[in-house]
Symmetry: C2
Subunit: 227 residues, 2 copies
DNA sequence: TTCCGCTGGATTGTCAACAATTACCCGTTG
DNA sequence: CAACGGGTAATTGTTGACAATCCAGCGGAA
């Protein structure tokens, strides 16, 4: 139980905020195991913080869906279930599909420039790594992230980028869904950007939904063969 | 500034939870004005609670998207903007469309029974009121609520029923979008249920998305003519 | 042996006081 | 007269202590 390291988070903001960011990272990356119980006194001692500040961080984590709290019982890290992962993909299909439709309509020139630059970077990276690890790094996140930003719908952006994506990352880190769909996913990204550039919202939505559904089916297959 | 009434909320649970529910109601119904600043000491005095418990309630309200908090400045009730309302409808179109698709696939017999009973009740109500006020009461909420429940996707259910719907209700209460689409909306509800019963997820999604988009266009028109 | 109730320990919920930051008011100055 | 700066008051962030609740282990009775 080593001492907490929350110095490098940027010293500004409030203590509760820093605790929140630190704990979020540890939960996403599995340093705090999924399904494990959270002890408020223990964590408070570890970070040299009071229980009050820690509780504030815990409540934010609960609202992110990374913790479950029951009154007079305490908080537990959510556990990762096959069903939860598939549920997540269904919601993403709906929301990111809509994000694409809106992005095709409302994107700015800067959005397109950044999307194309990103795609170019990913292409280099892919050639280097021979289509092996496109999905693991944050590359895939970058793509989906940027698309959502281009939708210009603040509620959609908040829901996906500040809420669901942490859960997505948690599943990826811990269940480690390294996809064999690397090159294919890359090409699909390109087609989605083209549709957005052409202003064809209907096509952009369709392509994104297929893209996500393909990932989902891939995972489904993996899970059924493994178990 | 009358004394707080949080006695009738069910005395169980925790104090912070009761404060949360009470304040949520007052914000949704506009008794606490949209855009107004929240004073922690004042509210704490009003409910005879400590600031700590109140702050917990405020943070839950923030995670619901009903409050905005800035560090060392305080909390404000979100203000209702035309853009925010339209954003909300776009997200609902995506999510409830998916909910219908899933409901068509995973609904139970009990789901269908309840949906049909509800539709029957709404029909009576509509005949009584001569198609005037189908939308105002919670009737429309009941419908959308039950559909989402039938999707069996816990993340989707939580996102819509525990997060977005309070914002929807806030807009309805305060901007008072009494719809002239009463009978038409009612018929659309019927068609959606039929599609779900037939197990046609694609059609159910399509119909729900049209249904919500029609509401959205209706509001858009109203807003442009009024201003 | 198995089930039930009880007691001790620990954990969570709640509170009131302290420290740090911000907002407001007012006098000064260009 | 308007803009800037200092000082005070109020608000927020944080802490440690108190009260209520839950959990584990033990002992007794059927």
């Amino acid at each position: 139980m080593e001492g907490g390291q929350l110095k490098s988070i940027e010293a500004s903001q409030s203590l509760a905020e820093r605790l929140f960011v630190t704990l979020r990272g540890e939960i996403v990356e599995g340093q705090i195991a999924a399904g494990s119980k959270i002890s408020e006194p223990e964590l408070a001692r570890r970070f040299n913080a009071s229980r009050g500040s820690l509780r504030e961080a815990l409540m934010r984590l609960e609202s992110l869906g990374l913790l479950e709290r029951r009154v007079n019982v305490g908080a537990r890290v959510v556990d990762l279930t096959e069903r939860g992962l598939l549920d997540l993909y269904e919601v993403r299909e709906a929301l990111e599909g809509m994000a694409c439709r809106l992005a095709a309509q409302y994107h700015t020139k800067e959005d397109l420039v950044e999307l194309r630059q990103m795609l170019a970077r990913h292409e280099q990276q892919e050639e280097l790594q021979a289509g092996k690890a496109y999905f693991q790094p944050e590359g895939d996140f970058d793509f989906h992230f940027r698309i959502v930003q281009a939708s210009k719908n603040d509620l959609l952006i908040d829901t996906l980028c500040n809420r669901l994506y942490y859960r997505v990352r948690m599943y990826r880190y811990q269940l480690g869904m390294a996809s064999p769909r690397a090159q294919r996913a890359f090409r699909e990204h390109g087609h989605i950007i083209e549709a957005i550039e052409a202003g064809d919202g209907e096509l952009a939505e369709l392509l994104m939904r297929r893209h996500i559904r393909a990932s989902r089916h891939n995972i489904e297959k993996k899970l059924t063969t493994e178990t």
